[in-house]
Amino acid sequence: MEFLYAIEVMLNGLMAGVMYSLVALGFVLIYKASGVFNYAQGVMALFAAMTLVGIMEGRVPFAHLIDAAFGVHVSSFGWTVPAVVAILLTALVMIGLAILIEKLVLKHLVGQEPIILFMATIGLAWFLEGLGDVMWGADVKVLDVGLPQGISETVERVTYDWLGYGFFIDRLDIWAAMIAAALVAALVGFAQYTKQGRAMRAVADDHQAALSVGISLRFIWIMVWSIAGFVALVAGIMWGTKSGVQFSLSLIALKALPVLMLGGFTSIPGAIVGGLIIGMGEKLFEYFVGSLVGGATENWFAYVLALIFLVFRPQGLFGERIIERV
């Protein structure tokens, strides 16, 4: 029984890990393509989810601002948009955002050190956070695109018949796992086997050299940020469904960081494998050790696990070897 329970914890850990991976993927894409550590990824997920809800519910963007500036009360257009259409529209918004980011930020920072670009994404994160709130309001929004939630009875029944103990698996998690698998397969294929994928890796290595062979940084960046925006949207949908769309959604980025470390900043499969290991590790640790030391170990455990791992493999599981030459 104890053993089965541990397995259940592990399975749920794996599922939680998939949810982290969804966020980590966005980081990896951008890092791989521009060497930029995109701190704004979490906020992008929040922004995407807010926009999605806003569109679905037919909210008027900037209602609050319009109210304050012109004294006109507006809140809703009075229509609703079906989920699929809204998702497409939101994806378009994310592409627009990518174009703007390239135009207003990245373009001017070509060739700067990574830490400077990192800082710029922090500025971006603040801006987007403020913008999201001004556009759609800071209330907690309910996001329902029709994904199922709650215990999967099938799994419970089958495992009960089979093992005498019904496992708890959330249906939302099962969906997340399937979506993540599809995303990863598509992205890996793209990065390794297409011309644009190769160009993207070239850009990550050396901006100047990439320019010199005629790779348009602009195009690559817009492309990658758009894809990352889409990934953020997917992460936003999953996490938003789980716990509502609100400020805290942007903090899931913190859950994705140890995943990145473990998997390697540059590896798409690494994001998934890292997520699985972290998810499983932290749940099992909390289960076996957490109760002995007072609980709430999950936040730091993931980082410590990743840290210990890095000591042995400084580039993460699948990260590119760090080239050390003189």
Partner: protein, 405 residues
Amino acid sequence: DLVVPNLSYRTGPYGANGTQYADGFNDYFTLLNERDGGIGGEKVQTPECETAYNTEKGVECYEATKGSGALVYNPLSTGITYQLIPKVSADKIPLYTPGYGRTSAKNGKVFEWVFNAPANYWDGASVAVKYLLDQNGGSLEGKKIALVYHNSAYGKEPIRTLQELSKKHGFSLTELPVDPPGQEQKSQWLQIRREKPDYILMWGWGVMNQTAIQEAANIRFPMENFIGTYWSGSEVDVKPVGAGANGYKALTFHGVGMDYPIYEDMTKYVIEPGKASQGGQFVGSVLYSRGMYAAVVIAEAIRKAQELAGTPQINAAQLRDGFEALDITPERLAELGLPDFGPEIKMTCDNHGGSGMARLQQWDASTGKWTLITEFTEPDQEVLDPLIVEDSEAYAKEAGISPRC
């Protein structure tokens, strides 16, 4: 004019909660100004300052507003309250923290400037246990209760009390901390699923609440056995979960909904003329009501202070006297248009926390409304009083305060 700063937070991790509270607080004073021309003929100003639930911004807001003759502070944050306790003592300005802040501030002998009536965290814990006792015919012997709490100063507050109560009533207590923000609680809920506690109490705030309620629904925990504290029982916590949240219970120390006469005036003087904070979109919600209730108590204390001082132009020290002589009787509440909205509040020099009475409300997902399911209940003072004395005296010693009264 009377200045009552509103240290609110409408942004940041808890912005969704803070914004409703701040609206209620503002609107009540607007009502007084519009309808009665203020209190005792003096208009009330509520300069608002955004703290984002951040302690340093809280300090900044305090410093920025205190110069303008601030009478009382109500920051809606336990962290900021702790910051402000030494400051208000030095500056001699009352601090009113209904249902949050430092519990042992109930002891007016040590905390001269802090008031937390009608109820505090420990009262809540005790009332919840009393309710469960009632449900179980007076005995919790052998029952299992799990406490899911926000892993912070705030969330840890009820632990001592609950431990004492568990000794007294013979139930077992499992503590399950959740690190803020609390979007990922799988481990805690798997543990609950395994240990199958009879009841769950929750001390949460912000996104942690709805995630917990969602997870409880996911593992099909019977919602009626799941009780949240005051701050885990607002619409934002249950609505995102939808039908799954039906039957969830929470503590409260005031009434809910709009079935009170005061809302006629509120509509007439505040909402319809477009003077409501944020257009009045949250009127009647739990947190709005709570913000309004805090304003009601402050307004009554001001009235009392004016009476004692013999002038409408009171200062902060006079307001403290007003608080200490405050007695909001049920009749007075009815007069204010809020019959049976809150318990009777009676404060004295040594009791800054009132009676500590609280009640329970339950969520009905189909109508989207909270309904009150118990009367105001008295907490177990026998257990609480010694704890309060102990904690406040420790503070007095640390801070070198000699008890008054």
